[in-house]
Amino acid sequence: MKNDWKKYIIVFFITTALFATAAGLSNFFSNKKLDNLRSIQSKLATDILSAETQFSLLSELSCNQDTDNWNLSPELNELADKISYSEGSFRSSDELVELKRYYSLLEIKDYLLTKRINEKCGEKFVPLLYFYTTAENCPDCVKQGHVLTSLRQSYPNLRVYSFDYSLDLSALKALIRIYEIDDTKLPALIINEKKATGFKTIEDIEEIAPEILKLKTISDIKKEKEETEEELKIEKELSESN
């Protein structure tokens, strides 16, 4: 038993070292993920800045394919998914809150830009602002999230911008003031300037904003894409045969 005391202590240190390794590995991968978030965010920032600049340069912006296809949503959505996953799993650090603030800011900028394109080029997109909260338990917010994800997948030109009501960001506070969003009535939606509070189903949303139904659906877009590709292919074949 005498020698065993030493062993009890040595094993304690080995076990602690194993735990430290596990924590270290987890930290390493978390940092990798944060790097990934940062790089998506910096790409988004550049894209938005570039679009804004383009818009300012061409004061008489001609509505063309660029504006038709103006879409940062996939990146914004990817970022939203990843930030939300990170909050739920690997850490809730100040850094992540900072990333989320920046993300919200990018959303607002994209929202403003989308509105400007709509004004110039007709109602190509329907912007939808969605306010939820993470400060307290909000089962309706979870359900609303599913509804919006589903709608967004059906109508790519429905631009969903999600905002965490509890986030400390002055631009977001301004948005909340403008639309008079009350934290007791979350989730809240602003669809083309029309406000709706409480959980809304797909049908409810389509009723509030029937313009959504006029948007191109994912199958329309896919079909158009296929047709364009087909045309390009034929043109290419023709030019080759000539």
Binding site: D4, V11, T15, L18
Partner: protein, 425 residues
């Protein structure tokens, strides 16, 4: 950090600690592990009595007795005492017919009173230097007894436990037990090195007769007399060793319900006996049995149970989320057409790495046990079966055993016994 996560970290810290402790013991002692394949010749052969308690075993008792008769041991030195514990079938008739005239086999009959009473009756009727027991669903390797006897060259050694194998595994559940037993060999041998082995298994553990003279006969001990006697030996400072190359082949439960029943009895017995011997805990004079083996047993029980509940709670959480999703936007939403694999969403939480470490250590223990016994270190599918079946089913028998322990509901030893009938055929 939630309470669940904190409990998880505490339990997994102790679980990893236990595995590391055993592994360090293995590294210290691995050269002392000797697997003998050649026939042994001993300098002297002490007298040995092997007791076979049986109850309603008319069909398989002869295989057990035959395997004992085939032991490579001088005829005059080995006595086999078969005790019919008031069988309701024709066990007594079969025994008399087969061995009535065999001088090496001593037949005793008594009213049914439980395994410990059968063992004690035989103990009263023997004056051999060494005493063993062999359950009537087991058979032994011909060299087993000699190999065990060599461990008594150490005057201090008072009992020696064998290595138990599954007899002719056929079903998945039996292969899973085979892998479990491989790990058990490793654990037993390491605990023996630590002088903290907590059980002298019913099948073919051999004792010096003076153990019983000193500490008394078997007790009922919650139907796990083999655990109770080992703890009683520790209380008296008597050393128990483990002989890895003494192979005993046992019939094992061949369905999950039977395995469940057997394990509830074992774990229930462990809890009740450990509580009966609570004075062994954390006392310097009792050594590692109180500082390591018994606490490790409790941590393993609670750890395995908690791990399952922990993972189930996460799975239910996930499923609950999906149910809400289906309710809100329909079934089709589960199969998004734009699914892309992104490693970002692979979990990299600390608890995941700790779980991986823990599983690796269990597999290493299993491999070490396998190499120790069979001299090979190959991966086979029974390891997977073991990990899968035991991860899922074991927590339930652990919970049931704790439930029974709290409300003192004993399970019946004899009720389990019929599982071996078919395997012995």
């Amino acid at each position: 950090m939630s309470v669940l996560i904190v409990i998880f970290y505490i339990l997994s810290f102790f679980s990893v600690y236990i595995q590391v402790f055993l592994f360090v013991t293995f590294l210290e002692n691995r050269k002392k592990i000797d697997i003998r394949s050649k026939k042994l010749i001993l300098k002297n052969y002490p007298t040995v009595t092997v007791i076979v308690p049986c109850y309603n075993e008319e069909k398989n008792v002869s295989l057990t007795v035959e395997s004992l008769l085939n032991l490579d041991y001088p005829k005059g030195k080995l006595n086999i005492t078969v005790v019919d514990d008031g069988s309701k079938d024709n066990t007594w008739g079969v025994l008399n017919e087969l061995y009535g005239s065999n001088k090496r086999v001593n037949l005793l009959q008594k009213d049914n009173g439980g395994k410990h009473t059968a063992l004690n009756l035989a103990l009263e009727n023997t004056d051999s230097e060494f005493i063993g027991c062999l359950d009537s669903d087991s058979s032994v390797h011909p060299e087993a007894l000699k190999r065990i006897i060599t461990f008594f060259d150490n005057e201090e050694t008072m009992a020696v436990a064998p290595s138990i194998m599954v007899r002719k595994p056929k079903k998945f559940i039996e292969y899973a037990q085979q892998a479990e037993f491989d790990m058990a060999h490793y654990n037993k041998k390491m605990l023996a090195f630590l002088r903290g082995l907590q059980v002298t298994p019913g099948p073919f553990s051999i004792f010096r007769k003076k153990v019983f003279d000193q500490i008394g006969p078997y007790k009922k001990a919650h139907n796990t007399e083999d655990q109770e006697i080992a703890l009683r030996m520790h209380r008296h400072g008597l050393l128990i060793d483990h002989c890895p190359d003494a192979y005993v082949y046992c019939g094992s439960p061949n369905t999950v319900p039977k395995l469940y029943k057997q394990r509830v009895r074992w774990i229930y017995g462990f809890i009740k006996n450990a509580l009966d011997f609570k004075e062994l805990f954390f006392k310097k004079k009792y050594g590692n049995i109180g500082f390591f083996t018994l606490p490790a047993g409790f941590i393993s029980i609670f750890g395995a149970m908690f791990l399952l509940l922990f993972f189930l709670s996460r799975v239910f959480n996930y499923i609950g989320g999906k149910v809400i999703q289906v309710k809100v936007v329909g079934f089709g939403s589960l199969f998004g057409s734009d699914f892309n694999f992104d490693p970002f969403f692979l979990s990299t939480e600390t608890f995941l790495f700790i779980s991986i470490f823990l599983y690796i250590m269990v597999i290493v223990a299993l491999f070490n046990g396998r190499r120790m016994i069979h001299g090979r270190k190959i991966f086979s599918f029974d390891i997977l079966l073991f990990v899968v079946i035991y991860s899922v089913v074991a927590p339930f028998w652990l919970m049931k055993a704790i439930w029974n322990a709290i409300f003192s509901r004993e399970s019946n030893w004899a009720a389990e016994r019929n599982y071996s009938l078919n395997q012995l055929k």
